[in-house]
Every structure is written in C-alpha cells, then in structure tokens.
Symmetry: C2
Subunit: 121 residues, 2 copies
C-alpha cells in the first residue's frame, strides 16, 4: 500500500508539469530520440533532460541508447494505477449522485401524491 | 489552452500527496466538517488546513461556514479535465497497440503462406 501511494505521488507529480505532459503526449504516439523531442521545445537541453529523468524515475518513460542516440519510450502500464485511482473516485461520486437523484425523485413523488390528495379534498 | 494547462498543473499537483488524496477519497463519499476530517489524521491542524487550501485553490474542494463548523465538499467536475487528459493518452496508446498487433498478425500470416509454399515445393 505504501509503495502504491509512493507510485501515485510520483506519477501525479510528474504529470503536474506542462512540459512533461507534452513529452508524454508525444511519446504516447511513438517512441522518439531525445534530439527530436528537443527540437520544438523552448528550453535548454539540460532542462529537457531533467524532465525526462523525472518521467523515468516514476516509470512513465524508459530510455535506451541506440548508436549515438538516446531513444525515449512510454510505459503506459505506469499510468494504470493513476487511472484506477481516478476511476475509483468517479464511481464513488456516481453512486452518491445516483442515491441523491433517487432521494430527490422520491421526494417529488411524495409531493405529487400529496398534491393529488389535496385536490381530491 | 494556457488556462487548461494551469488547471491540469494544479489538480495533478494537488493529487501528488497522500494526505490530499485521502481527503479527496473521504469527501467523495460525503461532505465533512474540518473537525471530522482532522480526527483520524496524524498531523497538526494547521498542516491539514494547508492541504485543504491546496485542494480549494485547484477547485477540487469547496468549503463553507455552517455555524461554528467549516464544511468541506468535493467538486468532482474539477477532475473532469484530468480524467479527459488521461483518457486521451489511453486512446492514443490503444490505437498504437492495435496498429502494432495488426502489423504483427500481418507478418505472421505472410510467414505462414511462405511456409505452405515451401512445403508444396
């Protein structure tokens, strides 16, 4: 459980930055060399490398040397936990909203019955 | 777009902490007074209030005074953007996995045909 919490901390932290989200979006579509990731980015190479390192540390991205290039690749399975956590919250809210809706509908029905009774009198 | 990015930064940052995720989980189930949230938490009240403030700042939680209590409530709609972003990445990966699978199946089929041809000769 503590490990899961730490993994969630790291992935949410990694995604809390627009540059890292852009990298994730690009790598989701296809693996990419660091050089190709760097070209459109308005930042120094060491800054980009730091962001890639954060993504590597939380397991979202792996990198490997191919000749003189370093290739970055997504590991979508690292997002599974995050996704599962958000889904769990959503299902709790949805169940609560359903209960609230049922409660409101029940109240309305009761009120309608009372109205009809009053009219009959 | 810049506003969306900032909203995503804040929500992901807010969720990158186990105490704040615990608060979100509790408030997903039902609204709660700060005092009730505080009781099971192993921390000082000012620390808890700081966490609640971070959740308020990113729009995940609202608070209101009711008599002498401060009631905290979830705003699930603030998670919609985060959820949508993750879903988008998932659909990009899934499309890519489907293409890869189709490619591998294509190669296998080609190989099977070649094997049959060789056997006939």
């Amino acid at each position: 459980m503590a490990n899961n919490q730490l993994a969630l901390d790291r992935v949410f932290h990694a995604l809390a930055d627009p540059t890292r989200r852009t990298i994730v979006m690009r790598l989701s579509a296809e693996p990419s060399a660091v050089g190709d990731l760097f070209q459109p980015m308005p930042m120094a190479l060491p800054t980009l490398l730091k962001h890639i390192r954060v993504l590597e540390d939380c397991g979202l991205v792996t990198t490997r040397k191919v000749g003189r290039e370093r290739i970055c690749e997504m590991r979508p399975e690292a997002l599974r936990e995050t996704d599962a956590w958000l889904s769990q919250q959503r299902s709790v809210w949805e169940a609560r909203l359903d209960r609230m809706e049922a409660h409101v509908l029940g109240l309305q029905e009761k009120e309608n019955k009372n109205d009809k009774r009053k009219k009959r009198k």
